[in-house]
Subunit: 328 residues, 2 copies
């Protein structure tokens, strides 16, 4: 037996986005219905290196398929300057739940970007206006690309506005997508007046105010992934239909973590978990809704769902590098 | 940058046992002195497959070197009959603590056997009589081999007695070691009257009684790794100098878990943790000691210490298979 090695390019090339979005929706549903196991992330803190490691094991059963695995991921903010390496890197072990054989080892960094885009697409599908055709993104980094790729699968996006303080990053994004969309750089307000907005910045002081948004904009707040991070003004969060991926994670380190701990925003202000919406236990967008916000922190079940899609596609297409790791 | 892939044979061939024993001793010391991090194992239980997954992340700092990583390991007892696979398989991700780059991906099954043998050798070095020359082992499975390989590094073993209900397994063990030791099959009592005994069986009812042991035998109780498992009679454990690897793990699933939960054996009966002995905070064998017992459950810090030794040796000797997993 062999374990399939899937490097960054393999993960990129073996992620059919429509399938991934469907699998991520299945993951949110399985979490809601109790058909998933997701032990709390455990941390190893290394202050001497200004970094940490996180282990994210998970299992989910979607009915037709199930998946197990673990992502081992770090956050080392000094990496770019000190080592020429990304701040965040991930390694994913994807295992057969029935017999535990490690079916694949894959780049968890690319996987994270893909599944994060897919999560935004699931939320967008349920919360954006049906005829959404414009997409704005604040932050032109790597995550911006998968946001657009994924969201364009669930709405017929034609017009795209990208906003970033880094003009080069804006130009690069525009250039990359110019043959597929009517894409241009613009202000935060320009981006926020699109039908769908994704925010993918690491800021700790809100940069998107109520005036920056259209009356019915759906906002995917993707950037906050640690205590203190905060992209969207509190009055927007309080007035919006507010949907989260997980209560523990979002109140700890998601977009709502700052106002939640300041007592500005409470549990009554959270309208639903995304799992409740995809299973029909809570409404997606209704005619009464104005601005909607999805606070996404990223769940371990998303990683195993994404790994399932990547592995199955790669295996079907003889992609990747089979390697006999265990000798069994 | 590339990640080094190390399969089962690579792990076997890149584990200089003397170095490994030294590194495992460093791991026990780091744990005792607070220079290690070892979050509790987290479990994913899959009763529908009669199996589970365990994640074992750890970091340790030995002063001269440090190491981080995670072992993802399963227990699926139906595997041999239903899938032709081992009950237990492991995959190890070994990372540079400073920047978190995954230096190596390696077979965690072979690694577990090696580090378990090395743990027994550390205990034997501190607890067996100085002139120990005979070694007995109860259970002739795969773990028996690494027990002898490791213990022969710390004592000049000449005579070996192997005891198992499976005659073929005994013959195979004798044949394997016959050119290096005076090795023969024998009863449990024959094995137990050696200077050092290792027990590596999965039994739940004790098979080693006080009469089976010599007056100064050191016993490595390695077999118990789950609630209910129990190899050594309670009166032996109560009378012996009793050393454990970790209080939480041994009372939960080690050799002492049954008498501990029955109230037969309490904290007062535990003489030391192995980390206290290797750091000199508690005594190893003294002239007053008769039978000594080491209850080993296996710690995540042993895995990262072992992975460090394997990776460094393989890297120095250009062994293994470099693979660009992350594309950074």
């Amino acid at each position: 037996m062999e374990t399939l090695l899937l490097n960054k390019d393999d993960v990129d090339e073996n992620t059919p986005m429509a399938e991934l979005i469907s699998a991520i929706e299945d993951a949110f549903a399985a979490y809601e219905t109790g058909d998933a196991q997701m032990p709390a992330k455990s941390y190893i803190d290394l202050p001497q290196y200004n970094g940490d490691f996180r282990s994210m094991p998970a299992y989910m059963d979607a009915g037709d398929w199930d998946a197990a695995g673990i992502k081992w991921v770090n956050v080392h903010p000094d990496n770019p300057d000190d080592h020429g390496l990304p701040t965040v890197m991930g390694t994913m072990v994807y295992s057969d739940p029935e017999n535990a054989y490690p079916l694949a080892l894959m780049d968890g960094t690319e996987l994270t970007m893909k599944r994060t885009g897919a999560a935004a697409a699931v939320a967008t599908d349920h919360l954006a206006v049906e005829d959404a055709s414009s997409f704005g993104v604040v932050g032109a980094g790597v995550q911006a690309y998968t946001q657009l790729e994924a969201i364009a699968e669930v709405r017929d996006i034609e017009e795209v506005v990208v906003s970033d303080v880094d003009d080069d990053a804006v130009a690069e994004f525009v250039d990359y997508f110019s043959d597929r969309f009517d894409v241009r750089g613009g202000s935060i307000s320009d981006a926020g007046h699109c039908d769908v907005l994704s925010t993918v910045t690491p800021v700790e002081s809100p940069i998107v105010s109520a005036e920056d948004l259209g009356d019915h904009t759906h906002v995917n707040a993707m950037g906050a992934d640690a205590e203190g991070k905060h992209e969207i003004a509190d009055d927007v969060l309080l007035a919006a239909k507010l949907v989260i991926d997980d209560h523990a994670q979002t109140t700890h380190s998601g977009e709502i973590n700052v106002p939640y701990h300041e007592g500005v925003l409470g549990d009554d202000d959270i309208d639903a978990e995304i799992g409740q919406i995809v299973t029909g236990k809570a409404d997606g967008r209704t005619d009464a809704d104005g601005v909607t916000v999805f606070d996404s922190t990223g769940l371990a079940i998303q990683d195993v769902a994404a790994a399932h899609v990547v592995y199955e596609h790669a295996d079907d297409h003889d992609n990747g590098y089979p390697f006999d790791l265990l000798g069994v």
